[in-house]
Structures are given as C-alpha cells and as structure tokens.
C-alpha cells in the first residue's frame, strides 16, 4: 500500500515521516517536501472560492513515473501526505480517502494527549502502529 506517510505542521515543517524503505528516506523527504507547493496552492484556492469547504481530502497532488502523491489538510492546516506506488493501479480514490481518515483519527488521538505540545514531533506508539497499518 502506502510507501511513505507524512504529517506536516501548520508551519510546513515535518512532524512525522515514515517510509517503508528507510534507506531511501531522503528521497521521500524531498518528495513530501515538494508536494507542499501543491498543497499550499490548493488550500489557497479553497479559501478564495468556498470558505466553508468541508472537503479535507485534496486528491492526488502529482504523480511521477514511480509514485503517486496524495494530500489531505485538516482544518487546523495540518497536512497529511501519503505516497503510493504508481504501479498499484487497483487503489481507488475512496481507499486513499479511508487511509487519510484513519490517519486523521490517529492524529487526533495524538494531539489529545495532554503531554503533547502542538508543534512538536509526534512520538507515539499508537500513532506508529496506525501508520504501519496504513503502510502494510
């Protein structure tokens, strides 16, 4: 399924990045980082047209020969990025949506932790396992 899952904060700095293939992590860091460009653009357009746009799923941000990158932004401008293998053509939009929803719920649980200070790196076993589930 997913090969890389990332949570990006309001300030566009990474809060959590996990890749299936850790040796290639740098490449995914760059990929996720560059996808922020498109997320930002999409969010900007969103505010211009419909203020109460409840759709958090941003759809596919861009695709390369090997990967497809999907985005999702919460109302508090926390961005989730999921990188999928392009060869995996069977995945439907809805399934990606489900992945994001799971991720969002896991994230909501993380920030509900009274010891978590928003803006910090996410270090949570529960979140790790939720992410591994998405990536498995």
């Amino acid at each position: 399924m997913a090969v890389c899952v990332a949570v990006i904060g309001k300030d566009n700095s990474p809060k959590y990045i996990k890749c299936v293939d850790e040796t290639n992590a740098l490449q995914f860091h760059y990929k996720v980082h560059t996808s922020i460009d498109i997320v930002e653009e999409k969010l900007n357009i969103g505010t211009k047209t419909v203020a109460d746009n409840k759709e958090l799923f941003l759809g596919m941000l861009y695709s390369t020969e090997e990967y497809k990158i999907f985005g999702y932004a919460t109302n508090t401008k926390i961005k989730f990025i999921i990188v999928l293998q392009s060869s995996n053509a069977t995945l439907r939009d809805n399934e990606v949506r489900m992945m994001f929803r799971k991720l969002h719920i896991a994230y909501a649980n993380v920030v509900s932790d009274p010891f978590y200070i928003p803006g910090d790196q996410i270090k949570s076993r529960a979140f790790d396992s939720a992410v591994s589930e998405i990536m498995s």
């Binding site: 904060g9 990474p14 980082h33 460009d37």
Partner: protein, 1091 residues
Amino acid sequence: MSDLPAELTARPLALIGMVGLDISNPIYHAIWDAFSNNRRPDGAAVQFKLFNSTHEFPTVKPKRNSYEWYIPKGILKRNWMNKYMNEVPAVIVIFYDLDWHDSQWNEKKMECASRVQSLRAALEGRSTKIAVVLVQKEAPPLPDTEDLVATERATALCAACELPNKMLYLLPYTDHLLGYTFRLEHVLYELAQNFYHQEYKIVKNHREQLNKTAHQYLFVRHQFKMAFLNELKQDQTTALKHYQQAYNNLLDIRMVDTNSLEIKTVASFINYKLCRLMFNLKLPKDAIAQFRSHTERFRTRTGPRELMFEHYAWLCSQYSTFAELFDEAIRQGLPAVQTQHPGYYFQLAATHATQRHNAYKELCDNVTEYPNPDPLAGEEKLEFYGQRPWRPGKLNAEPADMTREAAAIQALQYKEKYSVNHSMIIIGLLGNAISQFKMYRCPRMRRLLVVQMAEEYFNCKDYGKVLTLLMHMLWEYRNERWPVLLTDILKSALNAAYLSANIQDYLTLALEALGPTTVFSTERKSEIYQNIMNILQNKPPNPEPNLSEELKNSVIDNWMTQLNRKEPLIFKIDDDNMASFIDIRARFTKPSYSIKSTVTIEVFIRNIYNEDVEISKASVTITSPGYSAEFPITDSNMESLVFKAKESKKFLCQFEAPRNDSPELQISAISIYLGNESKCCIAIRFSSTGRDTNLLERMYPEIQQLRGGVFETIRPLTVTKIQPKESNVTVGVESKQPALLGEWFTFAITIFSDEDISNINISVNSVQDNSSEQLTELSLNMTEKQSSIAVDIDSIKADSSFQQTLYVRSHNTGEKTIEIKVSYLRQGQNRDSKITLYQFSIVKPFDVSTQFYTMLYEPLSKAFVDEPLFIMPHINCTSPWPIQIESTSIELASSMIMESESSTGENILKNSVLNNGETATDVYCIVPKTASEQPTSTGIFTIKWKRANDKASVVTSSSVTLSPLWVEEAVIGLQTKLPPHGWVLTPLCVSYFIKNHSDYLITLRLNIEASDAFMFSGHKQIDIHILPESEKKVEWILRPLVAGFVALPSLSLTVPADEEYKLNQGRLKEVIERSIPSHIYILPKPITLEE
C-alpha cells in the same frame, strides 16, 4: 530539440518552384522580393524556391507493379521528407517577359514553349504542375473591356506550350505588384494542394498491395508519408489521423535488439509529430496522454545492456522535446497549471540524463581507445533513420557479425565517454525546469532542483558554484525546518567547501552542522567539532567522509597554504547565514537609564551542542544613530567561558550611559569569539533578539508557555532610553475638595525644591475642554476675575518651600483641570519647567425644590386668581461640607403679590447650619393676580450661604428660580367663615361668601344636605343670583349633636342647565372642594358648675 532532424521539426510548407527569375535583373528581383520576403502573416503556407532552368530534379524511381517480392530494409528513408520539402516542387512556375503586343511575338512564343518543354522533360515522371507567368510591362486592360488580340494570343501560347488555359497567368509589372503577387500566391497554393492530394492518393493506392507479414515497415512508412503529405497540404486533422495509424502500425512490429534503435527513433519522430499536431489543434490533453503512453511503452524497451546510456539519452530527449513542445504551446496561448507544466518534463528529462550519466559511468569506464576501422563511418549517409552504420539495411533474421558488433559498441561507448558532457546536459535541463517551476509557483520543487543542480556541479568539480547554490538553499531550507533535508544539503556543501578549501564557508557550515536542527550522528558531530578545532589551531581538517582518495589528496596542499599564512586568520560569520550551536539572548535590565548612570546588559549564552565548548571572548555592540561601541562582557561571577553540554550562563556587560543626541540605545549584535585572536579565530555575530527559533511560538503562543526552560522565557529587551536626570522641584496643591458650585474655591500651591532655584514663574491656567464654555474664573483675591494668573518669585532656597493661595470659581458642575506651570532657573543650568495638572470636581451645595399648598394646607397643583396659597422652598443640602445659611429672600414674579406685607420680620432660616442630607424649608403666602394659559413663574429665591466649617470662607449668594405654577381664572370665589371649633349642643354660625368674578349674572342653586351630627337652621335649598363682581352671603346656624372631628353637612352648588356656558359644573365642584372645610372639631359640652 536535441537529435531530431531539421526536416522533421520544420513546419511543412508547400514547395513552389520558380524558373526564369534572374535576380540580377532589378525587375525580377523586385518580383522575387514580393513573393519571398514580403510575406504577410496570413499568407498561404508556401515556400518559394528559385530553380535554375537547367536544374536537375531528383529522378523518379521506377514504378513497382507489385510489392509481392519487395522486402523493405528500413522504416523511414532519410531523404524522403527533405525531398518533398525542398526538392520536388508541387508547382513550378516559369516566368517569361512577354507583352501581348510584342513586336517579336511569334519568336518569343516559341522560346517560351521550348522552355516549358525542357522543364517538362526535367520533371519527367513527376506530377508537378507547370504554370507560366507572363511578366508584362503593359498596363492590364480595364476589367470590362475585352482585348481580342490578347485572348487570341493567349490561346495560341497555351497551345504551343501544351498547357491548359488556366495555367497561364499574367503579372503586370506596375504599381500594385504586391497585390498581384498575393493573388498569384493564392492560386499557386491551391495548385500545390492539388498536387499533394494527388500524391497522397498514389501512396494510398500502394497500401492495398501490402501484406502484414512482410511489409510491416511499409505500413508505417506509407502512413507516415500520407500524414506528411497532408501536412504539406496543411490538412492537420487528416495528418494527425495518419500519424496515429503510423504509430499504431509501428507498435505492431516486434522489437529486438537489432531494430530497437530504429523503432525508437521512428517512434520518437511520429510521437513528436503527433504531440505537435495535437497542441496545434488545441488538444493538449490528448498530447499529454499520447506522450505518457509513448514513454510508458518504451521505458522498458531498453535495448542492449551495453548501450543502456543510449536508451536513457533517448528517454531524456523524449522528455525534453516534449517539454519544449509544451512550452511552445504555452507561448501560443495554452494555459498551463501548477500540476501540469513543462517543468515536470524537463525535470524528468534531467532525471533520465542523470541515469544516462550513471549508466555511462558503469559501462564506459574501461573504454580507452577508438576502434579502427571506424565502425561508425558513414553514419550520416545511411538510407534509413535509426539504423546502425555497421549493419545498414539488415533484417532481423540475419545473424549478427559479433566482432563488428563489439567494435561498434566500443566505438559508441568511446563517443559517449569523450564527446558528451553529461553534467552540462543535466544542468541545462535542470535550469529549464527551475525556471518553469518558478513560473508555476512551486518554490520547494525549485529548491530541490537547485540542490540537484548543485550536485551536478559537484560532479563536474565546480565547487564554487556548488557553494553559491547551496549556501542560498541552506537559508531557504533552514526556514522550512526540515532537518533531514537540511542535513543532506549540509553534507554536500561541506564536501564542496572541503574540496575547494574555502575556510570561511567550511567553518560556517561546520558550525551549523553542530546546531540543533540537523540530524548528524553524535560521532559525526564530534568529528566536525574536531575539524573546527583543527582549523583554529591552523591544522587542516580531516577530510569529509565518502570522498575518493584522489580528491582528498588534491586539496591537502591547498589547505596547508590557506592555513599557514603569516597574518592571523579571522573569520567573521553572521548569524543570519547559519543556525549555530550557540544560542544568545540579550537584554537591558531597565527600559530607561539616566545619563551617566551605569547601563547593564544581561547576556545569556547557551550551548546547544552536546559537548563542552569553550569560547574565548564575547562582546556586545551597542548602536544608536551616530554612535556605535563595542563592550566586552565582564565575568561578573568569575564564570569561565567553558560551556558544558546544554549549559546556559548569564553574563553582564556594564558601561556608563553615553551622552548623545539620540535618546535611544540598541543592542545591535553580540559577538562570540572562538579560538585565539592572534592565530586563528572565528567571530560569530548574533543579532540580539536571538535566532528565528520562535516560529513555533508565533504559531501557538499560548501553548509554548507550557514548555519548560528558563532560557526560552527570557524576553529580549534590545532598546533602552537614555534620559537626563530629573529635577527635584515638586509642586503640591492643597484644597478641600470638592469645590461647591459658585463659591470661590481656595487652593494653595506649594513649591518645594531641594536645590536653589531662582527666577521662578508660576502660571496657572484652567484647562478648557472643547465642550464647555469659559465658566471658570481664577482670582488671587476673590474680587478680580482673571482667566489666567501669573506669579513671579525671585528665588527659593534649597530645601525650602513657597506657598501661594489662589481662588477659583466655577459656574457649572463636573470635573475641572487646572494647569500649574512652574518654570525656574536651576543653578548653572538652563531653564527648566515643570507642569502639574490639578484636577478637582465641582458639586452643587444644595438643591432647591418648591412646593405649593392651599390655605387648607393641601398640596396644590393649580392655583386660582385671587385665591391665596403657600409657597414653600425646600433647601436640601447636598454638599459634603456643612453650609451655613446667612439669609434667604424671595423676589416674586410680577403676577404674584405677598398676602400680607407684615411678614418682613426676621428670616426664619438665618444662621441655620445644614449638613449633608438635611433640609431647611422657608414659607411665604402669596396671592396670584393673573391667570395664564401655561405655568407662570413664581419668583426667584436667593440664598446667601457660606461654608460652616471654614472661618475664612466668604458669603456666596445663590439664586434659584422657583417652580412655575399653573394659575387659572376663577369664576366663582367661595369663602367660608367658621369658628375653629364648636361645642356639643351649642349653636354655631357658618357663613359662606360666594363671589362672582365674572361679567355675567350667575344663578346658582344652593343645596345643603341633612346630617346626623347636626341640627341646623337656614335654607335647605335656595336659588341665589349673584350680580357681576358682587358677593352673596349665606348663613346657617348649626347645633352639633355629637363630639369629635365631625363632617359638616355637605353643601352643593349647581348651575341651571341653561347657564352652563357661564360656569362649568365640574369647575364649581372643584371650587367647593378646595374652599369649604369638610370637617370641624366639636368639643364635648363643658360640664359647668351651673348645671
């Protein structure tokens, strides 16, 4: 368009040949110019070409009757496109000078005919159309006239030339040359289109004879030809259709190593044409889809492994070509979006160029010499596109010659190694991509590409460029706070800095690498730290890891010379350019200091690195406009400058506040020195506010407070004020607040000084707020009113005071402010002044309310003319201070008179003292004399009063207007005469006086009702008539029967119905109610001795 042939990329234009135009002749030159140079933008898509009359056109191949035994040797012939674009004209035009009325008409006709014949011979076998244009000097005939000679001769000429009539054109060489050539151009263009259509038909017919097994190549070739001919015909839609078929046919061909290059080459041609046409036909989505499937299909068709780089080069050129096409289409007005623009294709092209580079490194390392004989010889002269020169026209079936094959591969590898600058290709593509991504607002993608570009510069050893690019990107990535990416860039930049022996950059990068935002391992960090220390001791740093030995050895000498210079090395590094492992905060201890006092700055230094760090010196730079100074920090508590891991320390920096024009001081920078200044030293300049680590804080300010840590909570205070010393003159004001309305309010100003001052001037003003008018008076002695007061005093000795009493009077209540300005001369100094604002409030001393009563002491709301009443002013004291009433007086309005003049005796309220809340009441009996429609004023009440508790206070007179009263005309006056009390069984006399105030005769029925308490004698019912302005008296004798407060027998007066206009019954009732007592006291009969 890297490797596509020019004939493919050029726009196909119908070729029209011209014969007989000798450009050296000015007339012909003008005609040629009109055709070829003065093309209008909307002109037909044609290309004119001059041919010599003896030109040899390409020979026509013999017609093939059957394709049955024909086996094609390749797909596309190299010369075919060029032939149709530049060599075989669709139409050829013979220019010939001939006027209808030429004297040598017959000779010239023959010459023209022979020229046509020879050209026809030259074009034997081609269906090129031949046209003749007669260049005429005569003016053309008018449109409606018919020149019989011309018609006849034209027919004759056509016959001689064996040309149809419509192929003969005239070009009058006159003023309107451009107009004629334009028209001619259109006609020729139509002829050309016919030609191409005809050619297209011919190719189409070939197709029917082909079979699928042997002629797969021909299927492609024919479709390609048809498409191209349609392009020449400018029918893009049909062309597109045929290109698509060509492409599909091409895909049907089985691909093996021997033909892969040819298929890929042709595929790239057709793909190029397809995409270009789709963009032209405004089908960008189709173009992108076509390109995607094209690359998708061929990505895996790598061809022979030894020539892997060729495949990547091919892919790279596919992407870059498409990107250029896309970019071209955008320039023609196609809108692009952020997620779909040429940048992506340039980027992918760069990626493939990199792969090509990698493949080349892997494959071509051992190739050192070029094989002989050259297996690549004759590459340019091959008959077909994309074939190998060492086995041209070979079909798949034939076995390959292995030795030639190997030599050829070696030759290609050699070429790849020595004649291709891979880095430059990659950098060029990245550059294109960067500019595209910049245009489509993808700043981060742009940064990534810049980093990749830097990597490529690193590969070609241009370390200076690497550093320039990376230093720039570091700054951007630092703001984004992606530690992994930052670390990656730092690694590359450190390598580049090391290899270029750029100490300044090397140190900057190394310092940053030790900072908190990187993810270097602890060991790596301590190595970096050691490298910094090495440099500080003039030793070269240890080489960066992962560098080849060869590279390492090349720079050691460079480092040695750099470090072993005579003069001390001092590197200044600005905190703006990096994020180091030292964190600084600085603040002034106070927001302001007075001149010549000691200014203290607290400097907090924290070591974020996880090992001990020693700094040699630290200093603070202070600036203000026109002033700048650097002060070293003093070890107030003898703390050493060695910082343990994560330790923060506080230092003080003290200096005397400077005296200068600008009152502000600012901490502009804090410098930290590492190393020995006499040898090698790093000076890091920090801005005083600390680095921009507070980004998080700006995002979630409330939450960041939860974070512990003393250092984070230090608020920098980087600006302070320097103020002159305050003077010690104090101005005090004493008074008994609040002031009372209208009184002269006393206040005393006391000026105290602890030094000798002289020439003192006190000026007192009341401060006006805009709304209220001038209602405040000031006075020195309560008699002269002044709007402002000035008092001059010669001097005040040290530690003594001066007092001045002033008075102020205000005529409205509220808050008042008085400004007291004291200006004085200090010893040996300038004039100084001090302004004190004194605010006080004014309240009313008392409220006066008025009440009215009838003679019966009933509250009264309405008075009647000539009926006496009581007026009672109540003085309700509201002043916080007791007030003493000196006297009261009333001045009645003109419509009122006093009931009796005798009451001029002592004032009853004289000397009475009222405290807050107490009320005093005065009473007067008055008689209204005239009636009015609305309430009339009753009079003015004047109270003379003073403060009771203040001996010095003076009498103030306050006047109050009493409440107005409603006075009505009374028609009937009724008066009762009654003894104050009666005794049981003792008769008493009651008389009623009824007075008529009106001018009418009034008739009244008087009726007295029986009462149990009285027996009485007199009329029980009587009608009385009262003359105008006269009075009637009615009497009864009552004999009370019971004792007590007994109701009198009630009297009623009624007006006859016909007289109601004179006197209202209701009014009459009111008169009775207020004028006749209802009860009387009856005392029990006194028991006397007589009885």
